[in-house]
């Protein structure tokens, strides 16, 4: 099948899969909101000049005491929940896409070389990858950030990347092992093509599809991880917006009946992750590689 026909077949299956379309719609809405955040939010919650302490802890607008423009109420610093959620999603998406891009590239390259050259390179990197994998991305990220003692979005991205590349390396390596036995690779080698040409012209494009599923699943995992780290207080600092941080603040007020401080940011996070997972489920069916979903 030519590449073009393959693509139109994918589009066809996508258009006949309502959950996948719903998932992509969610992703597009969140991306748009995140990009346009400064223009669509009623308030920049992290601009100290717009904060006044007169209106802290107000309830949503439909309850007694609700105030415009704080549609969903405010937190303990007088930040509007709606605005903070939009800015928080922006942080989630920046961290998510940065990690997927950086850890993905590094992991794919390592997996490519390990799978192709084998021997000690393969043995060493895959032993390392197995070990790191068994510690789990979450545990490694918590420990790394705990030891770094330096908070900030950059640090969070770095820590997650260090913990997360193995996921890509393992999948890529497995895929490369299969592809490198294919006739066209053997033929190309027989014609005397150099290693780099074989690796990047023939193996890389054909070994990448299973990795695309990992990219989608991982985006969801990383977004949840960033929220978890910020919730625990080892993620982004309190001066930057984060859904996890919002929920950590709201947690102290649930006994006072202010459920909205947890439920609204929580709902935003879950909807975003569900959207990504719906899309990932469709990709998995499409490529149907035998990989499991793991954290």
């Amino acid at each position: 099948m030519t590449r073009k026909r393959k693509r139109s077949k994918m589009l066809h299956s996508f258009l006949h899969d309502p959950p996948a379309m719903a998932g992509s719609l969610i992703i597009v809405v969140f991306l748009t909101a995140a990009v346009l955040a400064p223009w669509i939010t009623p308030q920049n919650p992290y601009d100290l000049e717009t904060l006044t302490f007169d209106n802290f802890l107000t309830p949503p607008i439909w309850k007694d005491g609700g105030q415009m423009p704080f549609l969903l109420g405010t937190d303990d610093q007088g930040r509007g929940l709606l605005s903070t959620i939009v800015y928080g999603c922006r942080t989630s998406l920046i961290v998510g896409f940065s990690v997927v891009l950086i850890a993905g590239t590094v992991g794919v390259l390592i997996g490519l070389f390990a799978g192709y050259y084998g021997r000690w390179l393969d043995a060493v990197t895959m032993r390392l990858a197995d070990t790191m994998f068994s510690f789990s991305t979450t545990l490694l990220a918590i420990l790394l950030l705990g030891v770094f003692k330096k908070t900030g979005m950059g640090t969070v991205i770095a820590a997650i990347c260090i913990a997360d590349w193995v996921r890509y390396a393992r999948t890529m390596r497995g895929s490369v092992l299969e592809v490198k036995q294919e006739a066209y690779v053997l033929a190309s080698r027989a014609t005397g093509a150099r290693d780099m040409r074989i690796l990047f012209r023939h193996i890389l494009p054909n070994a990448i599809p299973p990795v695309m599923v990992v990219v989608a699943v991982d985006l969801a995992v990383v977004i949840m991880l960033e929220a978890t780290l910020s919730f625990l207080g080892v993620g982004v600092p309190i001066t930057e917006p984060s859904l996890g941080m919002m929920i950590a603040i709201g947690k102290d007020y649930i006994y006072a009946g202010m459920w909205w401080m947890v439920v609204f940011p929580g709902a935003a996070l879950v909807v975003l992750v569900v959207g990504i997972n719906l899309f990932a489920d469709w990709l998995r069916e499409e490529f149907n590689p035998k990989i499991e979903r793991t954290g």
Partner: protein, 321 residues
């Protein structure tokens, strides 16, 4: 087989050595233990004194060997904050984490496998659709949010379960258990459910995929054709083959379980190792952090080796090289 086990054990030891080296580096170069112990206003002489007493004036490799020697004897130094041996602090909190993690893993195995089979048998029934929607929620909801929502529903609004703590405990020898009192069990319910949710959803999806594949195999058709009862076919013929990868995955995800235990313990103020770790991170209590890392490494590596051996025993196809 024996060589395989020995090889795995040797690999485990190598990994532990690597972890110990990393711990040593953390201990030695991240944050200055001398400054922490001597205090910010110590004189130069006092600093020298502390440096000498800690053995920090010796060459690095001597320090590392000493660190290893002490670690092998369970001596990781004293906590900077509470001034008692770090290992004791961690071990004291081990039973709480162990009971929480065990209950969580049991819940996720029983319900994950049970629901997975149910869904695989009747994929288009309404209950299957409901379960699958629930599992999508399960893998899309971070542990900390699950915990807070459960507290909100069952503790704050319904008021039927306690929101935090471990409740009444009983000492059985050195082991402090919460499983023998009604109060202890009531306190365990919410945290155990919280910790189990994510893994439950993962195992459910794995069981479902495996069952769907196996149920289409020829030998299952043969089993049906022989007129065996549905229970025999499903449990003895199909499920047994699906369980191998499922249990393996549950074992391999133990690191994840430990990580989510940190989150769960923080939310429910559960007096376990994870809670202690976070407090130590906030207080830069290096000895406790290092001890925790070494303990976690020992637990995870042991479980991995056990899973590998279990897998090799159950699956004759595996190569022992």
């Amino acid at each position: 087989m024996l060589t395989y086990i020995l090889r795995r054990l040797l690999q485990g030891v190598i990994v532990l050595l690597a972890v110990s080296l990393i711990c040593f580096v953390i201990f030695r170069y991240m944050g200055d233990p001398v400054l922490t112990l001597a205090g910010r206003y110590a004189t130069q002489d006092q600093i020298q004194e502390v440096r000498k007493s800690l053995g920090l004036d010796q060459p690095t490799y001597v320090q590392y060997v000493k660190f290893l020697w002490n670690a092998a004897h369970g001596n990781f130094g004293k906590s900077y904050v509470s001034r008692v041996p770090a290992l004791g602090l961690i071990l004291e909190r081990f039973p709480a984490t162990f009971e929480l993690a065990t209950c969580a893993i049991l819940i996720s195995l029983v319900f994950g496998v049970g629901f997975g089979v149910l869904v695989a048998l009747r994929p288009y029934a309404w209950h299957s659709r409901a379960i699958m929607a629930g599992s999508l929620g399960g893998i899309s909801m971070p542990t900390f949010l699950t915990g807070i929502l459960l507290i909100m529903i069952f503790a704050v609004y319904a008021g039927i379960l306690p929101p935090f703590g471990r409740g009444k405990t009983v000492d059985v020898g050195f082991w402090r258990t919460g499983l023998l009192t009604v109060d202890g069990i009531r306190h365990l319910i919410l945290p155990a459910i919280t910790l189990s949710t994510y893994q439950l959803a993962v195992l459910l999806r794995l069981t479902r995929a495996g069952m769907r594949e196996v149920m289409a195999e020829e030998y299952i058709k043969t089993a049906w054709a022989k007129g065996l009862s549905p229970i025999t076919v499903i449990v003895k013929h199909a499920l047994r083959n699906v369980l191998i990868p499922v249990v393996t995955m549950a074992g391999l995800q133990f690191g994840e379980l430990i990580a989510f235990a940190i989150v769960t313990e923080t939310i429910f103020q559960w007096p376990g190792m994870g809670n202690l770790l976070l407090t130590s991170i906030y207080e830069t209590d290096q000895p406790v952090i290092v001890t925790y890392i070494m303990m976690a490494a020992v637990i995870i590596i042991s479980i991995n080796i056990l899973v590998d051996i279990f897998y090799a025993v159950l699956n004759p196809k595996i190569r022992y090289d």
